[in-house]
C-alpha cells in the first residue's frame, strides 16, 4: 500500500529514513511517500484536508488538528527530550560548560541583564504557535520558572531550517532546537551554550510521534500494523546502533550536505531519548494540553486518551 507520510527534518523522524533505507517498509508491503514539512503545525494543515495518511512530527500540533475535527490517533512515540534551548553572544556569556541547570532567579536575572545591555528582549527562535518547541519554551518559562514569556523574551515562530540559519547567522540570541541542529551549531559555534537541557525543559518531554489519520478507515487496516511494527523496529535500531542507521539518515537529512560524523554524533546524542510506547508520553501531553488551554491556544481540554491508540503498539510490540 502507498502511504503518504508527512514529516519534519529532525532526528525524531529518523525511523522513517531507516525504514526507507533498509527497505523494511517495502518488505511488509508499505510503500512510503515522504512529504517534508518545515514544522508540525505546517504538517497538520495538510493533515486536516487528507493530503497525508500518517504524520511523524511533534505531538502537540495534533491537539489543534483534533480540535478542528480531524480524526487522528498517535500510535507510537518516536523520541523524547529532543529539544534544548541554546544561546549565543551576550545571552550565553558566563554559562557553564558542561551545562548546569539554571535556577529560576538566575534565568530571570540573565534575561533581564541581556535586555538591559542590548536594549531589547532576547530574541529566541522557535517553531510556529502550537508546535512542540514553541509550547515547551513557553511552558518552561512560565510553569518552570514563573516568567511571563511575552515579558522576558521575543519568541519568533519560524521554520526549522530558518531557525537553524537564524541562530547560526546571529539573527537571534537563542533558539529551541532539536538534533541534528544542536550538533551542527555546536560544531559551527563553539561559543554556543545551553540555556536549558531537554530534561530542564520538562522531564520526559514528549516530542516526535507517529500518528495515523482516519485510523479506522477500512484501507488503513491493510498497512497499519505492518507500518507501526516496522517503525518501532527502526526506532530500536536507532536507539541501539546509531552507526548502522547513520547512512540512511544522512541521505534524508540535510540533502547530503551534512558529513556522516555529524549525523552519527547527533544520533548518539538522541539515542537515549527514543521511546516507542505511546503510553509513556500521555501524561506529559496532558500537562502541555492544559498549559495550552490556559494560555488560550486551545479552546478546551479534551481527554488526552482519545488522542492515543495504545492497542496497536501493544499488538506489534516485539
Amino acid at each position: 500500500a502507498s502511504v503518504r507520510v508527512g514529516y519534519i527534518p529532525v532526528i525524531g523522524s529518523a525511523p522513517l529514513f531507516v525504514m526507507q533505507g533498509t527497505n523494511w517498509g517495502h518488505e511488509v508491503g508499505v510503500d512510503l511517500q515522504l512529504v517534508r514539512f518545515q514544522s508540525g503545525p505546517q504538517a497538520i494543515q495538510a493533515l486536516i484536508s487528507g493530503k497525508i495518511d500518517a504524520y511523524v512530527a511533534g505531538v502537540l500540533p495534533l491537539l489543534q488538528a483534533r480540535a478542528h475535527g480531524a480524526d487522528v490517533k498517535v500510535v507510537a512515540s518516536a523520541a523524547t527530550e529532543e529539544l534544548e534551548v541554546v544561546a549565543r553572544g551576550d545571552l550565553a556569556t558566563g554559562l557553564p560548560e558542561p551545562p548546569a541547570t539554571l535556577t529560576p532567579d538566575a534565568l530571570r536575572q540573565r534575561l533581564a541583564d541581556f535586555t538591559a545591555k542590548a536594549g531589547h528582549k532576547p530574541k529566541i527562535a522557535a517553531q510556529p504557535l502550537g508546535s512542540v518547541p514553541d509550547t515547551l519554551l513557553r511552558y518552561w518559562l512560565k510553569a518552570g520558572n514563573g516568567l511571563d514569556p511575552a515579558q522576558v523574551a521575543d519568541i519568533v515562530g519560524i521554520d526549522i531550517d530558518a531557525a537553524q540559519q537564524a541562530f547560526l547567522a546571529g539573527a537571534v540570541d537563542g533558539a529551541i532546537l532539536r538534533e541534528p541542529a544542536l550538533t551542527i551549531i555546536r560544531h559551527r559555534l563553539p561559543a554556543t551554550r545551553v540555556l536549558a537541557s531537554g530534561h530542564d525543559l520538562m522531564p520526559g518531554q514528549p516530542g516526535s510521534v507517529l500518528a495515523i489519520v482516519n485510523e479506522n478507515a477500512p484501507d488503513r487496516a491493510a498497512w497499519k500494523n505492518a507500518f507501526v511494527s516496522a517503525f518501532v523496529k527502526a526506532t530500536q535500531l536507532l536507539a541501539t546502533d546509531p552507526e548502522q542507521a547513520a547512512p540512511y539518515v544522512q541521505q534524508a537529512l540535510g540533502g547530503g550536505m551534512l558529513p556522516k560524523a555529524i549525523i552519527v554524533e547527533a544520533l548518539k546524542a538522541s539515542a537515549g531519548g527514543y521511546v516507542s510506547d505511546p503510553g509513556r508520553i500521555m501524561e506529559a501531553v496532558g500537562k502541555l494540553q492544559d498549559f495550552e488551554v490556559e494560555s488560550g491556544l486551545l479552546r478546551k481540554a479534551e481527554p488526552v486518551a482519545d488522542l492515543f491508540d495504545l492497542e496497536t503498539y501493544r499488538q506489534v510490540r516485539p
Binding site: I44, Q64, K123, V156, G157, A166, A169
Partner: protein, 254 residues
C-alpha cells in the same frame, strides 16, 4: 440620463458579482459541499475580525507591516526608477551594467531571504531589504522599457527645437514620455511589495504575514482569510491613492 445610468451600471454589476460569489461560497460551506476546514464560511469572518481588532493584534500587525512596506517600497522604487531611466537614456551606462543586470536581475527577490537574514537579521531591516530588492527590479525594468519605447520621432522634435543635449532630452522627452511607463512600474511595485511583505514576515518579522502564518498554524482559516482581506484592503487603499496621483500627472492621456 443614459450617461448617469451608465455611470451607475458598473458598480451595480460589480456588487452583483460579489454578492453571487459570497452567496455561493456561504452556501457551499453551509450545505457541506466544501469539506469543513477547507474554507471558512464568509459569515464567520466578521466575528473573527472583531475579536482580532479588540485584542489590538489587528492594528498592531498593520502598523508593523506598513513600516517595512513603505520603507522598502520607497527605497526600491526610487533607486529602481532612477537607475532604469539612466540606463535607458545613457547607452554607455546601459552597456556597462548590462552584464551585471543580466546576472542579478533574474534572481527572484525572495531568493535573497537567506542573505537578508544573514546581513540584516530577522527584523524590519531584513524585511525592508527583501521588499526593496523585488520592487527595485520592477521599477528598473518599467523605467528602462518606457525609455526604450519612446517614439524616436519625439527625440527628433526635441532636437529640432534645441533640446538635443542629454539633460535637455531627459527633461523635454524622456521624463514626460516615460512617465506613464514609470508610473505603471510604480503601481506594479506597490502590489508586488505586498507579496514581499508576506514573504519577509513568514520568516518571523512581525506583521500581517507573520500573524497570518500563526493563524494558519493553528488552523484558524477564518483569521487567515481576515488577514488576506486586510492585505487586499491595504493594497486597494495604496493603489487608489496612487491612481489619484497618477490621474493628476497624466491628464494629457485623456
Amino acid at each position: 440620463m443614459s450617461q448617469a445610468r451608465a455611470r451607475l451600471l458598473r458598480p451595480a454589476l460589480g456588487l452583483a458579482g460579489l454578492v453571487v460569489l459570497f452567496g455561493v461560497w456561504e452556501g457551499a460551506v453551509r450545505g457541506g459541499w466544501i469539506q469543513s476546514g477547507f474554507l471558512p464560511a464568509p459569515s464567520s469572518l466578521g466575528p473573527a475580525w472583531l475579536d482580532e481588532v479588540r485584542s489590538g493584534a489587528w492594528v498592531q500587525a498593520i502598523r508593523d507591516s506598513l513600516t517595512h512596506y513603505l520603507t522598502g517600497l520607497v527605497a526600491g522604487s526610487v533607486t529602481g526608477a532612477l537607475v532604469g531611466l539612466l540606463c535607458g537614456a545613457l547607452p554607455v551606462l546601459d552597456g556597462l551594467l548590462s552584464g551585471i543586470v543580466r546576472v542579478l536581475r533574474p534572481i527572484p527577490g525572495l531568493a535573497w531571504v537567506p542573505f537578508a537574514i544573514l546581513w540584516f537579521g530577522l527584523d524590519t531591516a531584513g524585511a525592508t531589504f527583501i521588499i526593496a530588492i523585488s520592487v527595485f527590479w520592477i521599477n528598473f525594468y518599467a523605467a528602462y522599457g518606457a525609455v526604450r519605447a519612446i517614439d524616436p520621432d519625439l527625440y527628433e522634435v526635441a532636437a529640432a527645437f534645441g533640446h538635443g543635449g542629454f539633460w535637455a532630452r531627459l527633461r523635454t522627452v524622456v521624463l514626460p514620455a516615460a512617465s506613464p511607463g514609470v508610473l505603471d512600474g510604480l503601481r506594479t511595485g506597490i502590489g508586488q511589495a505586498w507579496m514581499s511583505v508576506v514573504a519577509a514576515e513568514l520568516f518571523g518579522v512581525p506583521g500581517i504575514g507573520a500573524r497570518m502564518m500563526q493563524a494558519s498554524s493553528l488552523l484558524a482559516t477564518d483569521l487567515v482569510v481576515v488577514y488576506m482581506l486586510t492585505m487586499a484592503l491595504l493594497y486597494a487603499v495604496t493603489d487608489m491613492l496612487f491612481m489619484l496621483v497618477r490621474r493628476r500627472l497624466l491628464g494629457w492621456q485623456g
